[in-house]
């Protein structure tokens, strides 16, 4: 840890940390005060008593289903759009001039670098409040992520089968659907499943800016200090995430066989 290159990096990190604490007007006094501790304590105590009122549970089930549907549909749309972007973004063989490689990659980077939550806040203007905006937001961001991963998968696919088809005079579409796609399909599925896991987490909070699902219910009840409902919603979120993790784990096991 004594090499000069190490020292520069550690120095940078230390300076950054000190400057961060220095410049942020952090309210430690407020956070560590007896009043805040009492409020936090009451807050956490109230969270320990979730409501199980049938009417609310029904609402919760609908919101959970909505979140699940948003994440699944958003991921599916992103798989289709990502594939559509990935084909022009990949150079498939040495003679391929790939004129669209850089423009499409630029678009994918832009889609990817804007987080789901910002997309949701933007899309609410076009699509209105509700799960549709949230679904589109997930689809936009995930298209950027998957498009790039898919393009790399296409470029890394073994060239033999594609070359054989091309030598027989098959067109680009046939080569893609009968040689490239079957080879990379397991990898695409695994990427899509991984993103679906991520998206269920994202979908659960998108509602905070008005994107529908559990998040919308959460920000509504938390805003009104309905702590028992808030607690039930948080439990539903954790269960949903755990459920998708388990489902995705088994789907992966099946795919790997």
């Amino acid at each position: 840890m004594s090499r000069p290159s190490h020292a520069a990096a550690w120095g940078f990190l230390a300076a950054l940390t000190v400057a961060s604490f220095w410049t942020l007007d952090l309210q430690w006094a407020k956070f560590l005060s007896a009043d805040a501790a009492r409020r936090m304590g009451r807050f956490l105590l109230e969270l320990l008593a979730p409501t199980a009122e049938p009417g609310f549970l029904r609402k919760l089930a609908v919101a959970s289903a909505e979140t699940l549907a948003m994440s699944a549909l958003g991921t599916l749309l992103a798989v289709l759009a990502g594939l559509a972007f990935a084909v022009p973004a990949a150079r498939t063989h040495a003679g391929d001039r790939a004129l669209w490689r850089w423009p499409t990659r630029l678009v994918l980077n832009a889609l990817r670098s804007i987080p789901e939550l910002v997309w949701a806040a933007l899309l609410i203007i076009a699509a209105g409040l509700g799960p549709f905006a949230g679904t589109l937001a997930l689809a936009f961001h995930t298209t950027g992520v998957l498009g790039r991963l898919f393009a790399e998968a296409i470029e890394n696919a073994p060239l033999g089968p594609a070359f054989a088809l091309r030598a027989q005079g098959a067109g680009a579409a046939k080569v893609f659907f009968y040689a490239t796609l079957p080879q990379i399909l397991p990898q695409l599925m695994s990427y899509a499943l991984y993103r679906w896991e991520n998206n269920i987490r994202a979908a659960a909070v998108l509602g905070v800016v008005g994107g529908g699902g559990l998040g919308q219910l959460l920000s509504f009840h938390m805003g009104l200090f309905h702590m028992r409902e808030t607690s039930s919603i948080l439990i539903a979120m954790l269960l949903l995430v755990a459920l998708v993790d388990v489902a995705s784990y088994f789907a992966r096991r099946i795919l790997q066989r």
Binding site: T23, L24, Q27, K30, A65, A69, A204, G212, S219
Partner: protein, 276 residues
């Protein structure tokens, strides 16, 4: 199937594909209903007009010096929230990782771990799971209620979520390494901290730092959106501009956002090359 087409040219997998596509569509229908999937609403005159006005406002982005200075300040706050949050997350995660990993268990050296240390380890692991399964945005919502609007809530939210992630991954990294050196130290009477510093850390230091720096980059991305619930930083400014339908300000901030994410990406790659 016309007689002219020789059967060899038929795709043998065709029926299966048609069946699975139809099955997927049948599964998809309820999802379309649940998400109120109505793309035609996007091209309704009212929606088109609002979108058109907003997006038309994007060009030119607002590059007024006063506004740019404001955005630069918010940018720094975003980075500062992420960095301070990570520093606190480390303070929480390192002790938890030390307690929860099974390599440093003295009672497990001769055989099975005793019941009490086992229970303590499982307890810390459960705590780590809870910390990281609640999204940082929800933590931020909670802390905004407790400490009020501002960066404190953002720092605390990042600290809690990331301590859960870091603690778990540190544990996994430490447990996946070779245990021989650490166990030799423990068997010969070294303290647990000594065993950690001389047996485990030299093996896994680079992996641990590299993962931490990667998470710092993720923390910058998430602190940029925490502002949407009032936890300070770039998101808060963006939320304000969006509520006022100020397209040119939003355009500037989207550009700054991409720049910030790109810079964090570059800085993290540089740091990982240096100390990873």
């Amino acid at each position: 199937m016309s007689a002219a087409a020789p059967p060899a040219l038929r795709d043998p997998a065709w029926t299966g594909r048609v069946f699975w596509s139809l099955a997927a569509l049948a599964l998809l229908a309820p999802a379309l209903v649940a998400t109120e999937f109505k793309p035609w609403l996007l091209v309704e005159p009212g929606a088109l007009k609002a979108t058109g006005r907003f997006v038309g406002d994007f060009l030119p982005p607002k590059f007024e010096p006063g506004f740019l200075w404001l955005v630069a300040q918010e940018c720094w706050r975003t980075v500062a929230i992420a960095t301070a949050g990570m520093a606190l997350a480390l303070v929480l995660a390192i002790p938890m990782a030390l307690i929860a990993n099974s390599v440093l268990s003295v009672s497990a050296l001769p055989g099975r771990m005793h019941a009490l240390p086992f229970a303590v380890r499982q307890g810390v692991r459960a705590l780590l799971i809870v910390l990281r399964s609640v999204p940082e945005l929800v933590w931020a919502l909670v802390f905004v209620r407790v400490v009020g609007l501002g960066p404190t809530a953002g720092v605390l939210a990042i600290a809690l979520t990331y301590s859960g992630m870091l603690g778990k991954v540190y544990c996994e990294i430490l447990e996946s390494d070779d245990r021989a050196a650490t166990h030799a130290l423990l068997r010969n009477g070294a303290g647990r901290l000594q065993a950690f510093f001389y047996g485990m850390l030299p093996q896994s230091a680079s992996e641990l730092t590299s993962y931490t720096v990667y998470r710092w980059e993720c923390a910058i991305r998430s602190s940029a959106v925490l502002g949407f619930v009032g936890a300070g930083g770039l998101g808060q400014q963006m939320d304000n501009s969006m509520k006022m339908f100020n397209g040119s300000e939003v355009a500037t901030m989207l550009l700054v956002f991409m720049l910030l994410v790109g810079l964090a990406d570059g800085a993290s790659a540089w740091l990982r090359r240096r100390i990873g």
